[in-house]
Amino acid sequence: MLNTFEKIQALMVEIFQVPEEKITPELKQEDLENWDSLQHLNLMLALEQEFGVTLDVDDLNTLTSVPAILKYLE
């Protein structure tokens, strides 16, 4: 079984179309060019579907780094 980080990593690889090693546990939105505002929404929708959560509108603006996402999911 994949752990939570690995699942997020897999999603980000798929959505941002980047190699796996680019997605580190410390990654922030501003560090990755492909993580633009549009793909950010795709990521948020994917998180909801993959983890069965419902994000609040404010979460959409704050879950802008891997640590923040991990913290939210845990």
């Binding site: 929404l41 993959e50 509108v57």
Partner: protein, 623 residues
């Protein structure tokens, strides 16, 4: 933590399929419930791995709201139907700028252009409370709306010349201005918008016949407001859809290219047991099957009603069933709760032959391609067999749960239509009549007896001006019985009618089974000289085999003779489809006068021709 996604189900499904068409068909049943974005991307990847041909399609999307998030859905729904889509998203909110000649949009040269808007984009006044306006102000809005939209579509005709344009308006997020009372109010918002849509659709039908309007409201009907739309994304990012909403929205918009550019379904071929009725008639007898007012019989009655809708929408129905012919015939004729009767079926094939054999026979009998069939059966075995042996046929597997039967054809894009005419409504009648003619031919044996028993009436019209659009249509559509295959527009036909040097002669044919309408046409030029030239001679394949072409030609030769003409010249222009008539002129005693050229000396015209005896001929000549 809950794990909802299961990409493996997509991989598993793909394992079981042998062609992209088969995989796509299976996926489409999935795509209706919640296919997650990850699953959808896996499906796209797998669909691309098939080596079957994909056709390129250029789609431009212009939105007054965020539309780029729909990207994956476009690619997915395109591949499901064999399209490799090249997508162009106009910059957000640049609708007006992009619709100028010379814009990036115009350079992209899209095949389809989608204008995804809100009502207020066309007319800001539509955002104000309608019940705050006077009746005069309110009544003015639809006219202003129509003229503003017309202006926009006029610019589109220049900027994206040749592209099909589809207009769609987003349903409103907010509730009705008068709330609960709206339905009762004289200034009802719902009534106002129904009226506005009516004006919009007639504007497009009449002024822009190759453009379409799609009603975004369907999303709310299918998924509900909270299921289709996402408030969070709308207010934070101006993107209106939930994942399911976006998926369904694009599926609808893709129907336009799918219906225009992929083979059309023309005939729905149905199994009987557990499809048209519940149970197995061969085992339980007519009294034992489920078909009536109680559950589960009412599900099958309802399904038959849906089929009747489709029949009048223009699709043919046929039966292909493994049964004793007598059992099926008895139910169709005598069961009091059958909705569909013999007269609704273009063909009824009941025997114990493998279904693919029967389907091939059916294609020949109805003169339709196999790719125009939709096969509907409850047996997974039969469905699989048809998919394997005749992959061009689309297959619907009917659920074993009666509750799911009535709606089993509801979501099929293939059964949607893009226009509706009287001809569509009545199409099946012609096929049913043909079936009966064939049945009579079997009992008659001798062709001449058979033709006489039909009591055929031929009505010839010379230079009649009432059916110009039908005449143009048959020059466009007739391929097999067509000597020169020249295609003419309505304007061409009109100019022949106005020209003394031309003659436009056509005939309609009726018999004891009904009227076939206008089925034959002859266009002749050089009418003012001694030698008439037959430019076009064609007949609809509906009436082949009844010597109508011979009778029509000989009757017309007599007309020429009466006009004191000396000779008639004709030619045969071979195409890939008209070898049926390569000997036509020679058989009718025309003399070869050059390569594929023939002529007939009217001095040799016999008084009678054997074909003429089968018809009661009436001829109307306009002077």
């Amino acid at each position: 933590m809950l794990e909802k996604t299961n990409k493996n189900r997509i991989y598993d499904l793909n394992e079981k399929c042998e062609s992209r068409a088969e995989f796509a068909q299976c996926l489409r049943t999935f795509a209706r419930d919640d296919l997650t974005l990850s699953e959808l991307r896996v499906a796209v990847k797998l669909l691309r791995e098939y080596k079957e041909h994909v056709q390129p399609l250029k789609i431009a999307v212009l939105g007054s709201y965020t539309t780029e998030l729909l990207y994956d859905y476009w690619i997915f729904h395109g591949l499901l139907h064999g399209f490799d889509i090249d997508l162009y998203f106009a910059p957000y909110g640049q609708l007006v700028q992009e619709l100028q000649d010379g814009s990036n949009l115009s350079k992209f040269k899209p095949d389809y252009t989608y204008l995804l808007m809100q009502w207020v984009d066309i007319l800001p006044g539509l955002g104000d409370p309608l019940h705050g306006m006077s009746k005069t102000e309110r009544d003015l809005l639809p006219k202003l709306f129509a003229s503003s939209l017309e202006g926009m579509l006029n610019t589109a005709q220049v900027a994206v010349k040749g592209s099909t344009v589809v207009v769609s308006f987003l349903p409103k997020f907010t509730s009705l201005g008068l709330g609960f009372y709206d339905v009762m109010a004289e200034c009802s918002e719902s009534v106002f918008f129904s009226h506005l849509k009516e004006i919009l659709s007639s504007l497009i039908r009449e002024r822009f016949p190759t453009y379409y309007y799609d009603d975004g409201e369907h999303l709310l009907r299918t998924l509900g407001k909270s299921g289709a739309l996402d408030q969070r994304l709308w207010y934070s990012s101006r993107y209106p859809f939930s994942p399911n909403g976006g998926n369904l929205f694009v599926e609808r918009l893709m129907r336009f290219p799918v219906l225009e550019r992929t083979p059309k379904v023309k005939c729905i071929v149905l199994d009987c047991d557990n499809t048209l009725w519940g149970g197995i008639v061969g085992e339980e007898g007519m009294a034992g099957i489920s078909l009536g007012p109680e559950y589960p019989g009412n599900c099958f009655v309802e399904f038959q009603r849906r089929l009747l809708d489709l029949l009048h929408r223009g699709f043919l129905l046929a039966i292909c069933s493994k049964n004793n012919p007598h059992d099926v015939q008895q139910v169709i004729r005598e069961h009091k709760n059958m909705i569909l009767r013999e007269d609704n079926f273009a063909s009824i094939l009941v025997n114990w032959q493998p279904k693919p054999n029967n389907l091939s026979l059916l294609a020949e009998e109805l003169r339709l391609g196999l790719d125009s069939f939709l096969f509907v059966d409850d047996s997974p075995y039969e469905c699989r067999m048809v998919r394997k042996v005749l992959p061009e046929i689309r297959v619907v597997h009917v659920s074993e749960k009666p509750l799911e039967v009535p709606s089993c054809l509801d979501h099929l894009q293939e059964l949607e239509i893009l226009s509706f005419t009287d001809e569509d409504r009545k199409r099946f009648k012609m096929y049913v009549q043909n079936r009966k003619r064939k049945e009579l031919a079997v009992t008659c044996g001798d062709l001449s007896d058979y033709l006489n028993s039909l009591k055929m009436k031929m009505h010839i019209s010379v230079n009649g001006t009432e059916h110009i659009s039908r005449l143009s249509q048959i020059t466009q559509k007739t391929n097999q019985f067509n000597l020169t295959t020249k295609r003419y527009s309505e304007n061409d036909i009109r100019s022949f009618l106005d020209d003394d040097n031309w003659m436009v002669a056509y005939f309609s044919l009726s018999d004891i089974f009904g009227d076939n309408g206008i089925v034959g046409l002859m266009l002749a030029s050089d009418i003012t000289t001694d030698t008439v030239l037959i430019d076009t001679f064609l007949m609809s394949c509906r009436v082949i085999g009844r010597r109508a072409e011979e009778a029509f030609l000989y009757r017309m030769l007599r007309v020429f003779r009466e006009l004191n003409k000396l000779k008639v010249k004709a030619s045969y222009v071979p195409t890939s489809k008209n070898s049926l008539v390569e000997d036509f002129w020679a058989k009718l005693r025309f003399i070869p006068s050059g390569e594929l050229q023939y002529e007939f000396d009217l001095a040799n015209l016999p008084k009678e021709h054997p074909s003429l005896s089968h018809f009661e001929i009436q001829i109307d000549e306009e002077t």
